[in-house]
Symmetry: C2
Subunit: 371 residues, 2 copies
């Protein structure tokens, strides 16, 4: 384990949202900046499905992270002000305990013996981590994509624990179109002959299933509009075999699928993907009451993107409206980026000032001036 990555032992047993328990589980996490004496400047970042704890470089470890443009001294999430924490999700394969981790006792991977995983579990494991750091209340949670749903889970499962939320490219619940995309990704993995009900090996990896899953996902990460600009038909190549790669968009998908295929564990992918489909903020309220009533949030910034196919703007509108109806001071911003769901990763020029301003506004609250 690289020195910039730290480990948090979850309480054992760790109670899972759907009823079972995890034993001897750990979270891998990284931090940036300094926790102030009052422990009041903690900003927790919750990740998208395939991201890990390495959101940005550290002084002593300069590999860029997945949100490198956003986190650091002087950046939107300014590490001279905020103490920033990011963990690999529980259930992931990036250092935290997940389905490919060894099971206590046997040492064999959990595979499908891993308990049912919900975003609530990822959220609660993250709160266990931040509590272990002495943080009695988070200044803010910031979550894009799956992290935005997990941020809601955190707020709903831990009332009063979070003062502010920045929720990006997410929704209160997945719509059927988005569930269908993820279902087909899971099917592509499950049906790969090498998947063998989870008993794959490095030598017999479900490569084709993982590649196809990644490519199906990529249909929903950018936008048709962006691809119109990016892939001129004039770049067609002569395929090397019947029905081989010919169109620029096919090369692009193949390139990204090849990069992804060994970077993520197939069963972890299944668990996290399903957790997104299971999440429903409405389930945290009895009957038709507002799930965010009494959650203790002081403010929220909800951000969406016009071209997001996976979580389109009307879903951020719903989250914003529900937060407002719960009496939370909330702002909604729908940006006009053409990068679709991925805009928060790519369109730094738009997202940096938005997130900086959202964080700046949280510091206006009396008694919350950081550092």
């Amino acid at each position: 384990m690289a020195t910039h990555i730290q480990l948090h032992k979850l309480p054992s047993p760790f109670a899972m949202h759907r009823g079972s328990e995890l034993h001897e589980a750990t979270l891998a996490y990284e931090t940036w900046g300094q926790l102030n004496a009052a422990k009041s400047n903690a900003v927790l970042i919750l990740t998208g499905l395939s991201a890990d704890s390495h959101a940005a470089a550290h002084d002593e470890h300069d590999t860029p992270g997945w949100w490198q443009a956003m986190i650091g001294p002087g950046k939107a999430i300014d590490t001279t002000t905020w103490f920033v924490i990011c963990a690999s999700s529980l259930g992931s394969c990036k250092g935290s305990t997940g389905p490919c981790s060894p099971m206590p006792g046997t040492g064999e991977p959990y595979r499908f013996a891993f308990p049912d995983l919900c975003l609530e579990d990822i959220a609660n494991a993250s709160a266990s981590l931040t509590r272990s750091l002495g943080i009695e209340q988070l200044h803010a949670v910031i979550g894009p994509s799956m992290g935005g749903m997990t941020a809601q889970a955190l707020v709903l499962e831990n009332p009063g624990y979070t003062r502010h939320m920045i929720n990006i490219a997410a929704a209160m619940v997945s719509r059927p179109f988005s569930t269908a995309i993820r279902s087909l990704q899971r099917e592509a993995i499950l049906k790969d002959v090498n998947f063998k009900n989870g008993y794959y090996s490095a030598d017999n990896w479900p490569t084709e299933g993982m590649k196809l899953a990644r490519k199906i996902g990529m249909l929903s990460y950018r936008s048709a509009e962006e691809w119109d600009e990016r892939f001129p038909r004039s770049l067609r190549q002569v395929p090397s075999r019947p029905f081989g790669i010919e169109f620029p968009v096919e090369s692009y998908l193949e390139h990204h699928a090849n990069k992804f295929v060994h970077q993520f564990d197939p069963i972890s992918y299944l668990y996290l993907s399903r957790a997104m489909d299971w999440f429903d903020a409405h389930e945290h309220a009895s009957d038709d009451s507002n799930p965010f009533s009494g959650c203790g949030l002081r403010s929220a910034q909800v951000i969406g993107c016009r071209t997001d196919l996976l979580f389109p703007p009307h879903q951020q509108q719903e989250l914003h409206d529900t937060l407002a109806a719960a009496g939370i001071k909330t702002r909604l911003e729908i940006v006009d980026s053409i990068e679709g769901h991925d805009a928060f990763l790519v369109d730094t020029a738009t997202f940096s000032p938005l997130i900086r301003q959202a964080l700046d506004r949280t510091a206006d609250h009396p008694g919350e001036t950081p550092a």
Copy 2:
């Protein structure tokens, strides 16, 4: 061969758009209504990718067709007025010669020995059929989806042969997003272990690949909006195995995939799917000139649907604008159906009057009064 299906022998050799030849090829077709003495009332229907010649029932064969609501006495395409012809596409597996047909000489299926297939070939084979019926000029060609692209190919390859075109849910060229969806469908088929480079058998059918291909396609046939209405989360079922079917949208996709899997030949699917990606109306013009200049069309009706993900409205706008710039009297109608690309098949209440009126208007042209 059922008696309502007729066969047309293509000239042998039949020259293909990309340079090779087909020998002893046939088209399976059906007709409705009567060709008038002047042979001036012929309406050719060109089909979507997976449809066959059976567009509607006949008096002596009452199985409903794929466009049953649209074709018949008193219907939008009124068979008391028009002589309607519909063929299974060349390259398809529905009675016309395609990759799974026996190759002359050997009797073995063509498989990948079938020549490169373009929509121009499907169009020219259809024109060969209608010419063989003594039709010197088509009154109109009507094509939805792939048929709309094929209709353009027909008009561009056979100048002066068609008086009017009704072009539905199509485009002059596929955008990268649409190509990506079809590419992933092809990949799902090609990568199925049972596909065996085309040497699959009924006992070892590439079932999973075909199912996944169908499901990927279905992401683009309706709309996220329609699915929001159709699939309430309350209908979730308990899956029978880990990661089995749970969400209503998963049952829906599974049901349709199971219906499709043995109804279409995998290699035929590959050939037709690629033909859609290869089509580019612009390639029929040298440099930047208008491909429809001199095509001889007297009028066109272009129809799109607001919620069509595969061929969105700006693509019908482009076709309409290009036809107009070529001096063709053209109308554009973008309907507001929530059924997406499939609206022409489903939203009869909207499409019937549109198509009826479009055909009615063509009869206003002097000398073209039908029947």
